[in-house]
């Protein structure tokens, strides 16, 4: 199998961009990534476009606008992990020798408010069961019941990530918040307050992958790109079932993906210097600590309290500000994490730089269930 490296990355800021189309945002991100990679028209043999709400042929529209069609262009949908799924497919094709250079990008323009998902049956919507934040809240409730996590910890996650986001010009929010502000925002679904939930929004991100012909090039290496779905049984799984088993030992999709990724990269959680993880809501970040084995079972509050996961700590998590600062454009969100981590590994992050970062992990998880874990190294 051939080694895969990152030749270039590009972003269109996440936020609300009025009438600007997903195609325009995609063009911005793709041009930036291709320019960085020194790749022009005809310089890549395939393209994978991650999107959940983009509609038919989103990838073709972006590459059509750039006059760069002819190669296979495949749209990839895997909910919040769409970008991770696209990376996995692209990296696998390069490693197997099918292509030498592949363009991977994600575009999204989310509706405002609670995300309407075609995932739910009409009767579930009618019965009030399509209440996405309520599922997040139940997961948060169970985390609090099964560990030392309190509402103050949930607020502290928001404070941390919003503080990180101040320095990220591609984020939606650039202001710090206090725990009191967070706890004073309205309750959406107890125990989750409005500011503990990320904002669905708009944006694009792009990554050019290429085969490493042998020998060090100084480029960031894609050490693992894994996507897993759920195994059935967990009632609060991101697969959003209506029932589950009474057993509590069903392995979550994030853990399945992380184990595969650590094995593929030949590293463990102790080798990581920086992590971008799914913080759709504040509790989801703490759950991710456990599921990615950044801490032991039930120890996420302790890890947060130790300061390890803030900038300046042992293992900063979400130095970009996370989804809580950036917002979540589903198809672009995982690749946005990868762009951040590539900049971190190159030492280009200025005030939010993790000094000397050599090993980085990106994690997304959402409906499907889909969990994506990407490990980057330099």
């Amino acid at each position: 199998m051939r080694a895969v490296e990152v030749a270039g990355v590009g972003m269109h800021p996440f936020g609300r961009h009025g009438e600007k189309s997903t195609t325009e945002m995609g063009v911005t991100a793709v041009r930036a990534a291709l320019a960085e990679a020194g790749v022009g028209r005809g310089g890549f043999q395939a393209a994978f476009c991650a999107t959940a709400y983009g509609g038919v042929a989103s990838g073709h529209k972006v590459l059509g606008a750039l006059g760069m069609t002819g190669m296979p262009i495949v749209d990839v949908e895997a909910g919040c992990a769409s970008g991770g799924a696209a990376l996995m497919v692209a990296a696998g094709a390069i490693a197997a020798g099918q292509y030498d250079t592949v363009l991977v990008f994600g575009v999204e323009k989310m509706p405002k408010g609670i995300i309407r998902s075609s995932f739910f049956e009409p009767w579930q919507e009618e019965a009030g069961l399509a209440a996405t934040p309520a599922y997040f809240a139940l997961r948060a409730r169970r985390l609090m019941d099964s560990s030392g996590v309190t509402k103050d910890h949930l607020a502290a996650v928001v404070v941390k990530n919003r503080r990180h986001g101040v320095h990220n010009e591609d984020a939606m929010f650039h202001s710090e918040v206090t725990a009191a502000d967070v706890l004073a925002s309205r309750v959406v679904c107890e125990p989750l307050h409005l500011w503990m939930l990320c904002t669905p929004n708009e944006g694009a991100a792009a990554v050019v992958l290429r085969a490493n012909g042998g020998g060090p090039t100084g480029a960031v290496r894609l050490a693992a790109a894994v996507l897993r779905s759920h195994v059935p049984g967990a009632v609060l799984s991101e697969s959003t079932p209506l029932s589950g088993l009474v057993e509590d030992d069903v392995i979550p999709p994030t853990t399945l993906a992380a184990r595969d990724a650590y094995e593929q990269a030949g590293v463990g959680p102790e080798d990581l210097d920086v992590v971008e993880c799914q913080d759709t809501d504040a509790a989801r970040e703490l759950l991710s600590y456990e599921e990615l084995a950044l801490c032991g079972p039930g120890s996420s509050a302790e890890l947060l309290e130790s300061g390890a996961t803030q900038l300046g700590g042992r293992l900063p998590v979400n130095p970009s500000g996370g989804l809580l600062s950036k917002g979540e454009p589903l198809g672009a969100s995982a690749l946005g994490q990868v762009v951040e981590l590539v900049h971190q590994l190159r030492g280009e992050c200025g005030a939010r730089q993790v000094p000397g970062a050599r090993m980085a992990l990106s994690h997304t998880v959402g409906r499907g269930a889909n969990a994506g874990v990407v490990i980057l190294a330099r």
Partner: protein, 151 residues
Amino acid sequence: MPAADLEPAPGRVPVRDGLFIDAETPLLVTGRCRACAHLHFPRQRICPYCSSELVDESRISGRGRLWAHTAVTAAPPGYRGDVPYGFGVVELEEGLRVIGRLTEVDPSVQHRGQPMTLVVVPLHTDDEDRTVVTYAFAPSSAEPDQTDARR
């Protein structure tokens, strides 16, 4: 159980057929797999746990204990009923956890482990002036019977 008890009240229509029996003592319609013995809800033709096609319908009491709870404060997409409403997971005596609405809207007056029972509640009135109903869970004074878990 007398057959008359299974007849739905006139003017009421379930939000979807096959989820529950709308009777004075309502029942939850689950699937029970003959191969792996697991229960699932809503009932599927094929077992979600072992892919066996030997799935029987199993109507169960819906008695159990509250396992996790919250409340929905803003109407989610496609929902036409009242807000707020309770929302949670109940662990049923028969050995499965089920997600559903809770009749109690205040999370602070409920606690994990409290006895719950299945009820059928109105959602809204449809275009034909019928009351659309769904399953939900209500606090119950009766302790769930642990010795008669019909697995």
